[in-house]
């Protein structure tokens, strides 16, 4: 492994950023998965009553946002800023939702790392600016991502075994400076890393180096070990990538026992047709906002680290046979 944590500090520390609320919406397969009961909104149909999958993705986001705000009796007027992103060209899913929010908006793109990217941006605004209540949301939809990044849906492509399944859903999180029982403690901003992996059907393995790098960077910057965390999760490394990351850390003399992958947690890989696990922006957002955040609230977990991982390819770069650069951003959440 050529990449190792750099001397430059890449970790931000937050003193006053708290999680006020979260909201989730999932598609049918995610609802049937092992974490299904943790998601408050769901649809049995990928169209969700809309004419196109793209419109369905937006409706899912709106519901996830509304349920996040309703839980704490907030409205759009209470928001100072919104930060969001998704997988679609020109961030259409996020932008089209934001036009109804009537709030200053920042769109961010980090592929499947967007959950942590939007959260770390939101947290930075809460900590350092006059925007004190910031909403972050991110969505992905199996059918919209599939047709943009791979093949037309009508084609009915036979998927290769090493692929992952883009999760359908949206996760939203409301951050503010008002004290609650869970806070955002640190964020480590990842570097773009490209080890010349070219197979767009195997992005799980391509993203391992960036998760490895960001995790090392985070631990170095804070002078911590993996045992300082109750749980460390990566975004969507697939079953293959998950094992490789464990192996890499084992080679460094570190046992990653308290580690899992959101894509592997969201689905029952043995019994659901999701190939090597889940992927997509929604994957890490759903698992961390819908499942891990309540565990922190209940004090079943005390400190977790989320490493959302993103493959920064475009359909054009794939067609031109370019390799796949990847990035991983980390967020740590703590019980107050």
């Amino acid at each position: 492994m050529s990449s190792s944590a750099s001397q430059k500090n890449a970790t931000l520390t937050f003193q006053n950023v708290y999680i006020e609320s979260t909201g989730t919406f999932v598609g049918p397969i995610e609802k049937e998965g092992p974490l299904g009961d943790y998601f408050e909104n769901y649809s049995d149909d990928l169209y969700y009553g809309e004419k196109t999958f793209e419109k369905a993705e937006r409706e899912m986001s709106k519901i996830a946002i509304d349920s996040c705000l309703q839980k704490v009796n907030r409205t759009y007027d209470d928001l100072d800023l919104v930060v969001a992103g998704d997988l679609l060209n020109q961030l259409t899913a996020s932008n089209f939702v934001a036009k109804d929010l009537n709030t200053p908006f920042i769109g961010v793109y980090g592929a499947c790392s967007t959950a942590c990217l939007s959260m770390l941006n939101a947290a930075t605004y809460v900590e350092h600016t006059s925007f004190k209540r910031v909403l972050a949301y991110t969505s992905s939809h199996n059918a919209t991502a599939e047709r943009q990044y791979r093949y037309p849906l009508e084609y009915g492509i036979q998927k290769k075994d090493m692929t992952t399944y883009t999760a359908t859903g949206c996760g939203s999180i409301l951050l503010s400076n008002q004290v609650s029982n869970v806070r955002i403690a640190h964020a480590t901003i990842g570097k773009v890393i490209d080890l010349n992996q070219k197979d767009a059907n195997d992005m799980g393995r391509a993203m391992v180096p960036c998760a490895y790098d960001t995790l090392h960077q985070h631990l170095n910057d804070l002078q911590r070990t993996v045992n300082d965390y109750d749980l460390i999760v990566t975004g969507d490394l697939s079953t293959y990538g998950k094992e490789i990351l464990k192996e890499l850390f084992k080679a460094d003399g570190i046992n990653l026992d308290n580690y899992d992958d959101c894509g592997c947690m969201l689905f029952d890989i043995a019994n659901q047709e999701v190939f090597q696990g889940g992927s997509g922006c929604a994957c890490s957002a759903l698992v961390s906002y819908g499942y891990l955040y309540p565990l922190l609230q209940q004090k079943k977990l005390h400190r977790i680290l989320i490493l959302a991982t993103g493959a920064l390819l475009s359909p054009t770069s794939t067609q031109q046979k370019e390799s796949i650069p990847c990035i991983s951003h980390a967020i740590s959440m703590e019980v107050v």
């Binding site: 199996n142 059918a143 849906l153 009508e154 492509i157 036979q158 290769k160 075994d161 197979d199």
Partner: protein, 116 residues
């Protein structure tokens, strides 16, 4: 026996294609084009016609037969018009297949919606 032979040959072509798809990074587009070129190549020595006489529908059904038909049409018109015949006859025998592909795709697109 005819049925069995047809089944075996057609299945064999599919098996080869599936193995290539599973074992390499080639896309379905690469494999389909490869089989068309392979079928066209076999027509050079009339080999594909021999395959058809043995395996009947089994050899006519897979995409390799499309390459064979392209080559056949082109060669036929070449004997009549010379080099220009290659362009004139290329899609002669495959016209019906291409037209029906376009027509049926259009009709299906009108009445169906992808599920995911």
């Amino acid at each position: 026996m005819e049925y069995l032979l047809a089944f075996v040959f057609c299945g064999f072509v599919c098996l080869v294609a599936q193995i290539i798809y599973d074992r390499t990074k080639l896309t379905p587009g690469h494999i389909t084009c490869g089989l068309v070129v392979f079928g066209a190549f076999l027509d050079i020595f009339d080999l594909y016609d021999k395959l058809i006489s043995i395996f009947h529908a089994g050899a006519l059904l897979p995409i390799t037969s499309f390459g064979h038909s392209l080559m056949h049409g082109a060669l036929e018109k070449t004997s009549e018009y010379g080099l220009l015949g290659v362009a004139m006859g290329m899609f002669d025998l495959t016209a019906a297949g291409i037209t029906s592909a376009i027509l049926f795709a259009f009709i299906v697109a009108l009445i169906c919606k992808p599920k995911s």
